[in-house]
């Protein structure tokens, strides 16, 4: 296709503003799929994505669209819809020249709208504003246009759309052609293609999704990944329409995928540049950085026999997930397992769920934690991704924790409530601005460890669901942190250790001890629970000894049933971990996350 007739674009939106539905409509309207073939949200191909209604992995679809007598190739590059995958979003946007900025006509601009918009502007994309859901009775397109103006987007000629009802779709397609510039690369230069996604296929190896920026790439080419320096021979190329269609080449500006007998996505990092081995480009495309896990958690098989299966499952998941890291770890309490690193909490939950669902593993996962940078008094610097491994307080000069810059958009009535929440989570106020006369945007610096679990839920509940949140990492910051240990029956349970702020240690320790008291079932003997910092006990609770555990009735007609009941109870106990004779249920290891719940 002639470069002037190519348009590469993404759809960016706050969650639930209708991105996937609009994508489906564009595919349907251009006849790429018949409506009979359309399953809702065709782009979200993983089962989990559909269930959770979120996009985890990006995809690209080629659409053909006729505009004023000429045929255009429109490449729609889908972007993940969660803050954990911000880097992946930024790379997908880098592969485009334009973005549809979708805003819900009733909800208006939200935190993710802004975050995505700024990311698109950073990549010099042309913005095509789309106001969606205009069919809703509560739709207020005029107000949304005003809000768009406030954030620097000319919304006066925004396309008014109902993706659900199919209203305004043609207009959107026409605007993509008119407002998004064609790709500008040089077909004669050495090959440079941006990897914006990759996915493992068990027959073909890794499928590498690329946008060709300069030059062209053909089947049979010997290519090199500039960051990993790995070389492969291209065996197959294709585009998605959205079913895969083979092609023999991709030219400057085009989007598609290739396969090259690549065994693992670790070799094909998102953001890396593909070039030819024999005629390499001088400079890679800008912006690549290796995936950096932000959240760590211990993964332990409940049945220690499953350790090998867990390792295999993690290895398989890693083939398709360059951001997942794991290393063997041993816990005195939980035995042999792995410390796994994730981009964020959603990423962690998805991986855990896939391990349990697709690989039939029963796991104990420890509470997630962020990674700390610890400077010892000797000057040595450690990266600590497991609270149990934090050195003794006396050896530590400084502990730094990751912080984020968070933007929170809220109706102005709730500014006070949001500020209170941010304070509770050790936030530092940086800015307050107004989107219009009823909505404001608050900016805070917050420790990542304080917001990764229930901050969003709290934010929603304190603003009656109106506030929205987006954040990006903003470096490390020193804080007065200490390790809090939990002792059961006098023994430290390493898997329950956490790192907390000194000022909150007492309160957290008490709350955690109480929570554990409720979660740990009564045992044959009394079980003291202690929270301690170093050798100082800061909270104490007791699980009283079980008084009675006895079947009241057991007669002739009942014996088989009662025996099965006993066997089932026994099976339930096997699913608990025994630490120093104390049986601990799985939920207890996540208790720290729930101490703030009422």
């Amino acid at each position: 296709m002639d470069q002037q007739h190519i348009r590469n674009f993404s759809i960016i939106a706050h969650i639930d503003h209708g991105k996937s539905t609009l994508a489906d409509r564009l595919i349907e309207t251009t006849g790429t799929l018949t409506s009979r073939e359309m399953a809702p949200q065709v782009l979200d191909s993983m089962e989990l994505e559909r269930e959770r209604g979120i996009t985890i992995k990006a995809q690209a679809v080629r659409l053909f669209y006729e505009h004023q007598g000429e045929t255009y190739e429109l490449n729609l590059i889908d972007t993940p819809g969660h803050v954990d995958f911000t880097y992946e979003v930024s790379r997908a946007l880098q592969a485009c020249e334009g973005a549809l900025l979708v805003v819900d006509a009733a909800q208006g601009v939200e935190a993710q709208t802004l975050a995505n918009l700024y990311m698109a502007l950073d990549n010099d994309l042309s913005i095509v504003p789309v106001i969606n859901k205009i069919d809703l009775p509560s739709a207020e397109p005029e107000r949304v246009i005003e809000e768009l103006m406030e954030i620097g987007v000319d919304g006066t000629d925004a396309a008014l759309v109902s993706a659900k009802q199919g209203i305004g779709i043609e207009r959107v397609l026409a605007e993509v052609v008119e407002k998004v510039p064609p790709p500008s690369g040089d077909p004669a230069s050495p090959l440079r293609a941006l990897i914006f996604d990759s996915r493992f296929d068990s027959y073909k190896g890794v499928l590498v999704y690329i946008r060709v920026t300069d030059g062209q790439i053909k089947v049979g080419d010997r290519i090199r990944f500039m960051a990993t320096a790995k070389e492969f021979e291209v065996t197959e190329m294709g585009v998605f329409g959205p079913h895969p269609l083979p092609v023999d080449r991709l030219s400057t500006g085009e989007v598609g995928f290739f396969a090259a007998q690549i065994k693992t996505v670790q070799d094909t990092r998102v953001g890396d540049t593909v070039t030819h081995a024999d005629r390499p480009a001088r400079e890679p495309l800008p912006g690549y950085r290796p995936a950096q896990p932000m959240v760590y958690s211990g993964l332990y098989p409940v049945d220690s026999q499953d350790y090998g299966r867990l390792r295999e499952a993690l290895e398989k998941l890693q083939l398709n997930d360059a951001a997942l890291t794991f290393e063997p770890e041993t816990s005195a309490a939980l035995g042999f397992g792995f410390r796994a690193g994730f981009l964020g909490l959603l990423h962690m939950e998805v991986i855990q769920e896939r391990l349990e669902r697709e690989y039939d593993l029963t796991l104990i996962t420890t509470a997630p934690n962020v990674v700390y940078e610890v400077q010892l008094i000797t000057g040595e610097v450690l990266r600590v991704d497991n609270p149990a491994l934090l050195p003794p307080a006396g050896d530590i000069a400084v502990i730094e924790e990751p912080v984020v810059e968070a933007n929170i958009i809220t109706p102005s009535d709730y500014i006070g409530a949001v500020m209170e929440l941010a304070q509770e989570r050790r936030g530092t106020y940086t800015n307050l601005s107004y989107l219009d006369n009823v909505r404001a945007m608050l900016t805070y610096r917050l420790p990542l460890g304080e917001i990764m679990y229930d901050f969003f839920d709290q934010l929603k509940s304190r603003t009656r669901g109106y506030a929205s949140l987006d954040y990006q990492l903003d470096g490390m910051q020193a804080a007065d942190l200490v390790r809090m240990d939990i002792l059961l029956n006098g023994e430290v349970v390493d898997a329950l250790s956490t790192i907390v702020h000194k000022d909150r240690a007492y309160q957290k320790g008490r709350a955690l001890a109480e929570k554990l008291r409720d979660l740990i079932p009564r045992q044959l003997f009394e079980v003291p629970i202690q929270a301690a910092i170093g050798s100082r006990v800061i909270a104490r609770e007791t699980v009283k000894a079980m008084r009675k555990d006895v079947l009241a009735k057991c007669y002739g007609g009942d014996i088989t049933r009662k025996r099965k009941l006993l066997e089932k109870q026994k099976e339930g106990k096997r699913r608990m971990k025994s630490v120093g004779n104390v049986e601990i249920p799985q939920e207890a290891f996540m208790a720290i996350l729930r101490v703030d719940e009422q």
């Binding site: 006895v550 009735k553 002739g556 014996i559 109870q569 026994k570």
Partner: protein, 389 residues
């Protein structure tokens, strides 16, 4: 003693009830009439005629329910006659009828006594009318007293009373009032049960809705401990986890269950056990009757215990009794000493002070009786050691 000469008994299930108690998940039906009762008892007699009679002495018949006392006592008499026609009764023969105080008259009790019934198990449950109403019992407190008085007058010298503790909203004082009230009636035997909330019962639904609340576990435990002390003082000794008797009045029938002795069973949903084989009938009353009338076996299903399983059941059931498992009896039955066969399990339980092992018997300690399920769970799948020849 070979299993072929073990004493054995017969369970007869009478599923009919006037109303269903909120906690009950037994196989019961309400709303059936006298015609159904007659037809059902005919089926019982016919089922009996096909039963294979074990070799040992027959020591017990137990009419359970449901509410056996609901139906015409002549019908129960017919069953007893049919049994007697095929089997000689041992001298100590125990014939028990479960009795609901809301269903009896002087005449009924006299007819039962004359038919050979020598033990009544009367469901008293509580001595507060509010609790009886809440449980959907069909009688009041006065009816309990009347029933016992009538039973004595009819010549019953072996009377057992049932009561439940841990009832929704029940206080310790109420429980004490119940126990004291029952003791004043001079029973030979008492069964005191902690309330079990069974799935699918109205009780469970009420709890789920939050309409009622159970006492705290610790309070229920106190109730059990208090009653054990009180009954022991009154000369009613705890011979099983939930059962108390004057010496010599321990239920012969229930001991069959706890000692894994054979029992046959008649009626819908009834369970039988002989020599490691357990089988049970269809639960549906009409279905049961139709099957028997068609001359077909009303059996629903069966399980066969391996030798190891039988040994394990013998142990966890036997340990429910205060006498425990008598090592010689186990040896006679299985040819091996239980302490040797399950050495690791008993060593661990002994270590935890849950059982005591003496040369004569294995018994639960006081703590072991409180947490008998811990012991039972350790035994339900314990591996036996290999037999040494």
């Amino acid at each position: 003693m070979s299993p072929f000469t073990l004493p054995w008994g017969l369970y007869v299930h009478i599923p009919f009830c006037q109303a269903r108690c909120t906690y009950c998940d037994f196989n019961t039906v309400t709303g059936m009439g006298e015609g159904d009762h007659i037809r059902y008892v005919e089926a019982l007699v016919r089922e009996w005629s096909g039963e294979e009679i074990p070799d040992g002495p027959m020591v017990s018949i137990f009419f359970g329910g449901g509410t056996p006392s609901l139906i015409d006592p002549q019908l129960l008499a017919q069953v007893i006659q049919a049994v007697r026609a095929r089997v000689p009764f041992a001298a100590e023969m125990e014939i028990t009828v479960e009795t609901n105080p809301g269903t009896v008259t002087d005449d009924k009790l006299r007819i039962l006594r004359e038919a050979g019934v020598n033990r009544l198990s009367i469901g008293a449950q509580a001595r507060q009318n509010a609790h009886l109403i809440a449980l959907n019992r069909i009688h009041d407190v006065a009816a309990i007293d009347d029933t016992v008085r009538m039973a004595r007058a009819a010549g019953f010298a072996n009377i057992s009373l049932d009561a439940i503790y841990g009832l929704p909203g029940q206080t310790m004082a109420e429980w004490q009032e119940t126990v004291e009230g029952l003791l004043r009636l001079g029973p030979q035997h008492l069964s005191l049960y902690a309330l079990i909330v069974e799935a699918g019962t109205p009780l469970q639904q009420q709890l789920e809705r939050g309409a009622i609340r159970l006492p705290h576990d610790d309070v229920t435990a106190e109730m059990a401990d208090w009653a054990e002390q009180r009954l022991t003082d009154a000369g009613l000794l705890p011979y099983e986890i939930s059962n108390y008797a004057q010496p010599g009045y321990e239920s012969r029938h229930n001991r069959l269950y706890w000692q894994l002795e054979p029992y046959l069973a008649l009626g819908a949903g009834a369970h039988a056990y002989v020599e490691g084989r357990r089988w049970w009938n269809m639960r549906g009353v009409r279905r049961y009757m139709e099957m028997v009338e068609d001359g077909r076996d009303p059996m629903d299903n069966e399980e066969k215990l391996s030798r190891d399983e039988e040994m394990r059941e013998y142990l966890w059931l036997g340990l429910r009794q205060r006498r425990g498992v008598v090592r010689m009896e186990f040896q006679d039955r299985f040819g091996r000493d239980p302490v040797v066969v399950f050495e690791p399990a008993f060593a661990a339980l002994n270590e935890q002070s849950l059982v005591t092992v003496s040369p004569a018997a294995i018994q639960l300690t006081r703590r072991g009786r409180d947490v008998a399920n811990v012991v039972a769970r350790a035994l339900v799948d314990a591996s036996p050691s290999e037999a040494h020849s």
